[in-house]
């Protein structure tokens, strides 16, 4: 990947392309996902990173992951099976079409409420759902410049309270001000923060999407995150705490 990611980055003309994570597949051919973006714009306080995703099963060749519309995304979320590992695989989702009183059985007609979701679409939906709940950054790292672009803050000098959840924010809310908020606004108990004050390293693990890990080092002011997992939300979290 040392070689293939820079190649893909220059091919796609992106400013930054990093490994996002690894989605485990049932047949062993896991999907490596890379996330790239060019610009991030801020409208008021909302930040949108126009992120493009690429997937690879061998680390050498990266393929585009096209975005998916909201309807298909809503259907894909219902699937609770692990990814199969075959990008051409098709899942059928039962979804009563809006407006029909009784969905007809699938054998009769195609517009009966059974929809097909391909694995590639499901990949995108999985990544999107993980990113919506995670995508953590240290607060104050990104700043909006005069052109309403969100850029790294050159004068970021570290977090004051790296052992508190309030110091970390979701990417989409990176510009929120104020003392509260950040990850502390998430469902209580969905983050596990461990701060080693001697080494100055904070490690955040998500309990809602187990497998998401974020680290922040206060000595060299670096941070990063990675997701390795099935991509399924942990719906039993309330029982597990």
């Amino acid at each position: 990947m040392d070689h293939s990611i820079p190649i893909k980055r220059s091919e796609a003309g992106l400013k930054s392309l990093v490994l996002w994570g690894r989605l485990l597949a049932r047949n062993g051919k896991d999907y490596l996902i890379a996330e790239g973006y060019n610009n991030a714009t801020a409208k008021g306080k909302a930040v949108s990173f126009e992120a493009k995703f690429y997937f690879s099963q061998d680390g050498a060749k990266w393929a585009d992951l096209p975005t998916v519309d909201a309807d298909t995304a809503a259907r894909a979320v219902k699937l609770r099976l692990q990814l199969s590992g075959d990008p051409a695989f098709q899942y059928t989702v039962d979804d009563a079409a809006a407006g029909t009183a009784a969905p007809e059985p699938a054998a009769d007609s195609e517009d009966s409420g059974k929809y097909v979701v391909t694995e590639v679409q499901r990949l995108w939906c999985t990544i999107d759902s993980v990113n919506n709940a995670t995508a953590v950054q240290p607060k104050g790292y990104f700043i909006a410049n005069a052109h309403n672009q969100v850029v790294p803050n050159r004068l970021f000098s570290g977090l004051e309270y790296p052992d508190k959840l309030e110091s970390y924010v979701h990417r989409s809310a990176a510009l929120e001000e104020g003392k509260g908020g950040g990850l502390a606004g998430d469902v209580r108990g969905s983050w596990s923060l461990h701060y080693d004050s001697f080494k100055g390293v904070a490690v955040l693990r998500s309990l809602l999407f187990p497998g998401y890990c974020f680290y922040y080092s206060s000595h060299d002011l670096t941070w990063g995150s990675l997701y390795v997992g099935h991509g399924l939300q942990n719906n039993d979290l309330v029982f597990m705490l």
């Binding site: 485990l24 049932r26 062993g28 099976l81 000098s157 790296p162 309990l207 206060s218 029982f239």
Partner: protein, 448 residues
């Protein structure tokens, strides 16, 4: 003319004086301060000062320095890192403070363990496990555990790492040189007795929160704890004394819960290449005489691996405990369903494992996506206990578990118990008249 330019000047000044909502002050103020500073200090190259002076001032609100002071290093964290460094190198000889002479240290214990760094390379090739750097610390922690003469272990294996919400657990699996003797069983116990030093308690487990830290021995697991752990889905907190669950009641604290999960995980996911061991007469395992290594790629198939540890029955034991039939009823006495369970035979192939979530219970792992790369490592990862993996290359094989200690099975919380009855008789209105009061001549008048 003059008025319009004056108006323009006023506008310009107003724009410059607009205060920003993020940092205090306005552009006008900052520029003024900067010019004052330059005039005061008269640096050699005022232009070069512009960027750093202005931006530094702005970021810090004009007063303080830009260094952010994080929380001070706590003693506990410092001690943890120091303990990890103590793993390395030769151990320090403690010096008796009174005499100044080195204290006699007991000779280190003799123990056996696997080549942990070699195993780490296998897992690293597959992309699972802890990674080579952490496994270096693990190998040294195993050495420290093995050499401890007070613990007197015979064999040590690194079982794996459990994540917790506040701290993690590193678990080591050992056999003791002199296992404690079984206490006398009390006759007539209603509970199923635990297996002492065999079956689910064949190994003794030690845990620590960080490598180099103090090791705590986990107690033996009882069948009741295993059954209770099966109905729970909990995350570990990292503290062995935490309470586990109030409903369903778990008989024990987190140390017992962790031990129960270890028992379940090890009985399900510790595997060995098929054909490597055979069952000998006493029911134990011994090396098979003829064992031919399969080409590396084929070790990714479940047919080529078999379970190593005995199967954990529903009762919570590996060997089912059947109550003794009372004399005279030996033929007609019926055992419960649990006691009649037979379970798969020892060294059962992994192919027979039930499906998990609509697919196989194990997924293959290969070190290379290309089949023709030589010297590959192949292995399996479990879909039932996410985090359990095994690896094989040539004649070496190994197992590890790195995960949350949570089973990948649909979880249904135990429903509340049925409402208990308060009255023996049903609450039905009685159609009879209330009993007639006794005549007053008895001396105990009743009000009714």
């Amino acid at each position: 003319m003059a008025s319009s330019s004056a108006a323009q000047v006023q506008e310009a000044l107003a724009l410059l004086q607009k205060t920003s909502s993020t940092d205090g002050g306005s552009l006008y103020e900052q520029l003024t301060n900067l010019i004052v500073k330059v005039l005061d200090e008269k640096p050699a190259n005022p232009v070069d000062v512009l960027e750093t002076a202005l931006l530094n001032k702005k970021a810090a609100g004009g007063a303080g320095n830009t260094e952010v002071v994080g929380p001070a290093a706590s003693i506990a964290d410092t001690a943890r890192t120091v303990a990890a460094t103590k793993l390395f190198g030769a151990s320090d000889v403690p010096i008796d403070p009174e005499t100044g002479e080195p204290v006699e240290v007991d000779t280190p214990n003799e123990y056996e363990c696997e080549d942990i760094l070699g195993d780490a390379a296998l897992f690293d090739a597959l992309g699972v496990g802890l990674g080579r750097r952490e496994m270096m610390d693990v190998a040294l922690a195993v050495k420290k555990l093995g050499e401890d003469p007070r613990k007197a272990v015979a064999t040590v294996r690194f079982f794996g790492k459990f994540f917790g919400t506040h701290a993690d657990y590193y678990v080591f699996e050992t056999t003791l040189k002199s296992p404690p003797e079984e206490p006398e069983q009390q006759p007539g116990e209603a509970e199923v007795p635990l297996e002492w030093n065999s079956g689910s308690n064949g190994y003794v487990y030690w845990v620590s929160n960080y490598l180099g830290g103090p090791l705590t021995q986990l107690p033996h697991v009882t069948p009741a704890q295993i059954k209770a752990a099966r109905s729970l889905k909990r995350l570990l907190t990292g503290r062995l004394s935490s309470a586990v669950s109030s409903y369903p009641v778990f008989p024990g604290n987190e140390a017992n819960f962790l031990r129960a999960q270890i028992a379940r995980i090890s009985c399900t996911t510790v595997v060995c290449p098929a054909g490597l061991f055979v069952v000998n007469e006493e029911g134990g395992l011994e090396n098979a005489e003829e064992y031919s290594q399969l080409p590396a790629r084929e070790m990714g198939a479940t047919a080529n691996w078999s379970h190593r540890y005995p199967h954990l029955k529903k009762q919570g034991r590996c060997v089912v405990h059947k109550r003794e039939a009372p004399e005279g009823e030996e033929d007609s006495f019926e055992w419960t369903e649990e006691e009649q369970e037979e379970g798969p035979e020892q060294l059962a192939a992994l192919e027979g494992d039930e499906e998990v979530g609509g697919g196989a219970a194990w997924s293959p792992l290969f070190s290379s996506s290309n089949e023709h790369v030589k010297n590959q490592v192949a292995g399996l990862r479990s879909n039932l206990w996410p985090g359990a993996a095994c690896a094989c290359q040539g004649s070496r094989f190994t197992n590890i578990y790195v995960g949350w200690g949570v089973k990948n099975a649909p979880f249904v919380p135990l429903p509340p118990p049925p409402v208990s009855r308060e009255y023996d008789a049903a609450l039905v209105e009685s159609a009879e008249l209330p009993p007639k009061p006794k005549p007053e001549g008895d001396g105990e008048g009743q009000d009714e």
